[in-house]
Structure formats: C-alpha cells, structure tokens
C-alpha cells in the first residue's frame, strides 16, 4: 500500500469530527492547574504571532508615516486604499483566481473517479500527480517563468502543433498574465485534490455500488448518483480550503513569475501589502489593506466553520 492510499493530513481535516463533549476524556476528578501549564507555551506563541499582530495591524491602519513617527489619520488610509486602482485591481485579481477552485476541484475529482479501480501502475500515477504539490513554488515558479515567457517553451510547442493562434506572451500580456498564474496554481494544487478524493472514494462501501451495477446502472450514473453524493462533505471542505489558499497564499507565484507586472496587472492583495509595506514604506496603507484581507478571509473562515459544524451535527 502506498502513501497515496492512506489518508492525507488534509484528509484529517475532513474526516475527524470534533468530539466537543466537554471533559469526557479526563480521568482527573477535580479541576487542576497543570493543563494550564501545558497550554501556556502555545498560548504565548499564538498570543505573540496572532494576538499581538491583530491588534497592531488594526492600530497601524489608522496611522500614517513610518514606525517611530506615526501620525493618526483616522480612516484616511481606507479611503485612499479604495480610491487606489492598484488595490482594487489586486483585490479583483484574487477574485479572478477563485476561478481556479472549480477547475482544480472538477479536474481532480474527475481523475480520482477515473482511477478509482485497481489496475497496473495506479499507485505510481497518483504519486507522480501528487509530486508538484510538495515542491517549492519559488523553484517551480522559476521553471514556469521560462516555460511561459513570450517565445518560450509553451509558445514553441504551440507553434510545432500548428496552433499558432494560441501563442501569447503569457506573462507579458496584461490581460493574460493573471490566467497564466492561475494555470500554475492549478498545476500545483491538482495533485492534492486527486489524493484527497481518491482516499475518500476508497472509504465508500462497495455494496451500494455493486447493487447499482447489478440493477444495470451505467458508469456515469454510479458516479453521479452514488459516489459523488457520498463524498459531498469532503468536496465542500476541499472547495473552501482551496478558496482560502487562493486568497491568502499565492504571493510566491506572483513574486517569482511576474513581480506583479506588467505594471501592476498581476498584483494580488498579498503582493500589494508586501509592496506598500516593505518597498514603499507606507505601513499605514499596507496595514489597512491587511485588515481588508483579514475581513474577507474571515468570511471564508466563518463559512468553513459553519460547514464543519453542520457536518458534525449530521454525523451525530
């Protein structure tokens, strides 16, 4: 059995229900102090990295100037932010990249269904498809920057296939660039989808499928009516997690593939925050953008928790 047949860490996210009944697993009769001692280091780490940062980033968003010489400006940063075409464009690019979510989900689910049988080499195929997911986006972004550049490898391939009409300067054209970045994201995220969905499909009991087959259901009907509904919960989790990734962890692709360019056409919110905070030194604007990003992210997080809670209730 290969690793690919096992549950993945991401799978852990989907599979386990929160058993939230309080105190049922404690053998200690009385409340004691030692659990607080054990939780203290984690509380310190979270308090420092998350707690402190949340408070400070909100505070900075109302100030202008550099650290040490901050002046209170009220909501001016937010007004400036939404008047700045670069920011709205960056935000819009994040939303455009959300289009990768249905593509990754659909394509990896389709492949997982197709290889949901035992045949020669299936493990190796799964291992190959998963590999991109663990490789550093920095290094692979470098490779893709040569593959996708104008007159690069992809254009050469298209020419040799007599599909010259598809040739583009994939990273140099303002209207194409964000889709090219999306393509690289799909390339990297595809494997985790295949592995998660394959593991989920393996856990579907075989009898239902057998019964349907005996009743003469076609392959397609079995997939659509039996298998997909059985793993619906996992598909939902996957979609939300992918959306969160596209919103909050695509900086590396943008930085390495285009540096946000041409001009700012491929900038995303993360890149905008990086550029304003660390290249232009306007930490007030960058912090305001970070607060907006946090606000958007919390909508997704709330949605994620809602799906989790609902799934737990259904399981109970």
């Amino acid at each position: 059995m290969s690793s690919m047949d096992a549950t993945t860490p991401l799978q852990e996210l989907f599979d386990k229900e929160d058993q939230t009944a309080p105190d049922t697993r404690s053998v200690w009769r009385r409340h004691q102090l030692w659990p607080y001692g054990y939780m203290a280091p984690v509380l310190v780490a979270l308090g420092l990295v998350f707690g402190y940062s949340f408070v400070e980033v909100v505070r900075y968003s109302f100030y202008a100037g550099s650290v040490g010489q901050l002046t209170y400006v009220g909501t001016a940063n937010y007004k400036e932010l939404f008047a700045d075409p670069q920011f709205t464009h960056s935000m819009f690019n994040n939303f455009k990249l959300l289009a990768t979510v249905p593509i990754v989900t659909g394509a990896s689910l389709a492949l997982a269904l197709i290889i949901n049988t035992t045949f020669r080499g299936v493990r190796h195929y799964r291992a190959i498809v998963f590999l991109p997911y663990i490789l550093p986006a920095t290094a692979m972004g470098l490779s893709f920057s040569y593959l996708l550049q104008g007159n690069g490898v992809l254009d050469g391939l298209l020419r040799s296939l007599h599909m010259s009409f598809l040739i583009h300067d994939w990273l140099g054209s303002p209207s194409w660039v964000i889709f090219s970045i999306g393509g690289v994201i799909v390339w990297q995220q595809f494997g985790i989808g295949v592995v998660v969905f394959s593991a989920a499909l393996l856990s579907v009991p075989g009898e239902t499928v057998e019964a349907a087959r005996i009743d003469g259901a076609s392959w397609w009907v079995v997939q659509r009516r039996i298998l997909i509904p059985q793993i619906r919960r996992i598909i939902e989790f996957f979609v939300i997690l992918q959306a969160i990734i596209v919103l909050s962890s695509v900086f590396t692709y943008v930085y390495v593939l285009t540096g946000g360019g041409p001009a700012y056409s491929s900038s995303v919110m993360e890149f905008f925050i990086y550029q304003n905070g660390f290249e232009n030194g306007s930490i007030g604007i960058a912090s305001a953008a970070a607060v907006v990003l946090l606000a958007i992210a919390s909508v997704f997080i709330a949605f994620y928790i809602w799906v989790r809670v609902r799934a737990t209730k259904q399981a109970a």
Partner: protein, 272 residues
Amino acid sequence: MQHFRNVMRQLLLVVISIVSLYPVWFMLSTALKSTKYYTLDPTGFPYHVTFSNFSAVFHNWPILVWMRNSLIVTIVAVGVSTVISIMAAFAIVFGKGRGRESLFRSNIALMAIPPVALLIPMYTLMVTLGLINQLPSVMIFYTGLLVPFSVFFFVNFFREIPLELVEAAYMDGAPHRRILRKIIVPLSGASTITLVIVNAIFVWNELLVALVFLQSNTSRTLMAGLALYQGRYVTNEPLLMAAAYFSILPLVVLYIFGQRFFVRGLTAGIGK
C-alpha cells in the same frame, strides 16, 4: 469496448503525468546544458551534459550557507511547534478545566489566517528586538504559524486513543507528566513523523516571511536567496535552474524515501 476504455485511460494518465513532471524535467535538463547549448535548443534532450552550472552555483553563490540556514530554521521551528503543540493537545484532550475547548476552536479558525496580514506588526516587533537578519526572527514567526494546524492534528489524534490506557496509568498513580511521556508520546510516534514532514515542507518552501525578515546575504534561507538571485541571473537560465534544482532535491528525496513514514503516520489514526 472495455479494452478501448483502458487504453484511453492509460493515455490520459500518461499525458497528465507528463504535464505534472515536465516543469521538473525542464529544470533538470536545462541545468545540465551550457548556456550556449540552451540558447540553441532550450527544450531538447541534454546530449552534451555539463555539470559546470552546478559547480558554478556552489562556487559563486552562498548556496551552502542558505541551505544550512533553511535546515536550521526548519528544525527549530518544526521542533518547537511540535513539542508545544503536543503538550497543549494533551491538556486539551485529557486535562480538566475551563478554556480548553475555546483554545481548540480558536486554533481551527487561526489555521486559515493569511500570514501576510501578520507581517507588518511582526516586522516592526523584530526591528525592536534587533532580530532582523537573524534566524530567530523567522523561527519565531514560523513556530506561531505552525501551531494551529499542529494542535488541531494532535487533538484529533489523541481523541482516538483508548481512554482505558490513560485510566489504567492514572489508577496506578502515574502523574500527568509520566502519562504524557510513557503512554501518549510513544503511541503518537508515526503521527508525529507525518506532522513533522508536512510542517517541514511548509517551512522549507516559505518565501514571503524569509524575504522580508532576512535581507543580508548570509542570513537568507534557500528560497529567499533563490528569489533574490533570480533578478541577478535571469538571463542565465541554466545557472538558475541548477540552483532551483538544489532547492527541490531534498524534497524529492524525502518524497521517494519518506513514503513509508507517510503511510505509517497517516494510517495510525484510523487503524489498530
């Protein structure tokens, strides 16, 4: 018909595998070409193999220093976050007292926070502490970022451990320290390895934080160094690809030889 379907499936899988592997192959084949040869034939098979790019990266770049930095940062951040997360998860699952469930739930929410939103306050904090261009700056940040998923992971795993094991030890008068060390930790070996691998991959691959916190040539991690030298050597494709190849090599090796640990760790939560 069945046969036709199988052929089509194999064909599809071969095409998908080529697409998955081609960027890696392109990286390796380019790194093995001389600049002149690459310019003439960027995609062709590297018939005239040269290792000069690899040796140039070693001699002209501080790549060994970067690799060492990445390794130290990964070991410390993953080590510390794993240990403190095990302790917290033990208290959450087996302890008594208020606040345990709230801590667990906040970890679920924090897992999805964009790191970039924390970057500016953390940067100013590191400036105050004088830690910019020092490895501890990123170690602290990464440790914090790894905690939410690690706590979540261990809590879910500990909840599957049969309570009788803990009860028996408790009846024998073992204190909580002993129960954690002698019962819980040995049972979690395989899961811990899995989590360590997952977290180590995150730290090794991280770019944004390293780029901002580590700006001196000798303090950079491998990814930050690679991203910086991209600008400097962008027209020397074989050289950059050789450096990039060094950065993915440890992961590919880990992936090939570490599969056994993946299996053991990931199935431990379900079976037995």
